[in-house]
């Protein structure tokens, strides 16, 4: 739980800006709060909201969120063997997973620490909801999240997780290749696809065999 705390604090600021942006897009406070409570996937919430706010409509907004979330398909496949129980029980256990908890719980042998997974998800869920509530009600007080530089928190959040990995001497090559794949694909694919494609760099993990 302690390991998840710094990321949970960053999550508070992220969801705070989500609350504000949702209000600006015409959401009521309740709608913003319910979104965070039942969707609970930060990047997808931001992606869907951005399309919706720019007048993209329901279909494109949901499609964008699905693409941004698509990395959870390979991540879920990775996680699956570490989850006990039948298919339904496993599918339910896969729900609270977010990026930070998935990374923190990952072990070097490819298995996942379930205690770490659920506790770090749990504490992040709490701060994610709190941040949304504050953002949704204090939107006028907070003003434009970009003016406060809150948009830099999202990449910083992932950079913190990445650097923690790299400092352990893991994943330097795969991170570089994944980053290059994503960067190269940005202008040519819908949002979300570059990240999904970057996960293919994980196959470099086979090279030592």
């Amino acid at each position: 739980m302690r390991a998840g705390l710094p990321y949970a604090l960053a999550g508070f600021l992220l969801s705070l800006s989500f609350g504000v942006l949702a209000r600006n897009a015409g959401f009521s406070p309740l709608q913003a709060i319910v979104t965070s409570a039942i969707v609970y996937a930060g990047s997808a919430q931001f992606a869907g909201l951005a399309i919706f706010a720019s007048g993209g409509g329901l279909g494109p907004a949901v499609a964008a969120a699905a693409l941004v979330n698509s990395r959870f398909v390979p991540m879920g496949i990775a996680l699956a063997p570490s989850l006990p129980g039948g298919p339904v029980k496993r599918a339910v256990q896969g729900q609270p997973v977010v990026d930070a908890s998935w990374v923190l719980a990952g072990r070097e042998d490819g298995t996942f620490d379930r205690q770490m997974l659920f506790w770090s998800s749990a504490i992040q869920y709490v701060t994610w909801q709190t941040g949304t509530v504050v953002g949704a009600f204090a939107d006028e007080l907070i003003g434009d999240p970009e003016k406060l530089g809150l948009d830099a928190i999202f990449p910083t959040f992932f950079l913190a997780l990445l650097i923690a990995e790299l400092k352990q001497g893991r994943g330097r090559l795969t991170a570089l290749v994944g980053g290059l794949i994503a960067f190269a694909l940005v202008p040519f694919t819908p949002v979300g696809v570059p990240v999904l494609a970057a996960s293919l760099a994980a196959f470099l993990g086979l090279r030592r065999s």
Partner: protein, 99 residues
């Protein structure tokens, strides 16, 4: 329009997160797969950083947030705690934007 959006987002997210555990779990995976799985975090995280800090939607874009994230990256590499890095990223971004 907003409630259907929220419901659809929740349903899609549920389905995507359920897919792996539903289809793959409960059987032994080949030995090589664990090496791929253990190597998955770094490229996904790097891609999330790159697409958020160096792009704006489907366009490459360098902006104040790029500066903020760079500062945070140096701070993190030097051992700064995550909250410190987060605040310096936001402060740097806000500062550059205010120029």
């Amino acid at each position: 329009m907003i409630w259907p959006l929220i419901g659809s987002l929740a349903a899609v997210t549920f389905a995507i997160k359920a897919f792996g555990p539903l289809t793959v779990g409960g059987r032994e995976l080949p030995e090589w797969s664990s090496r791929v799985i253990a190597s998955m975090a770094a490229p996904i995280l790097a891609a999330l950083v790159v697409t958020a800090a160096l792009a704006d939607g489907e366009e490459w874009a360098i902006g104040p947030d790029t500066a903020g994230v760079s500062v945070a990256g140096v701070a993190l590499w030097l051992g700064a705690p995550v909250p410190v890095a987060v605040f310096s990223a936001a402060a740097m971004t806000a500062g550059v934007r205010a120029l």
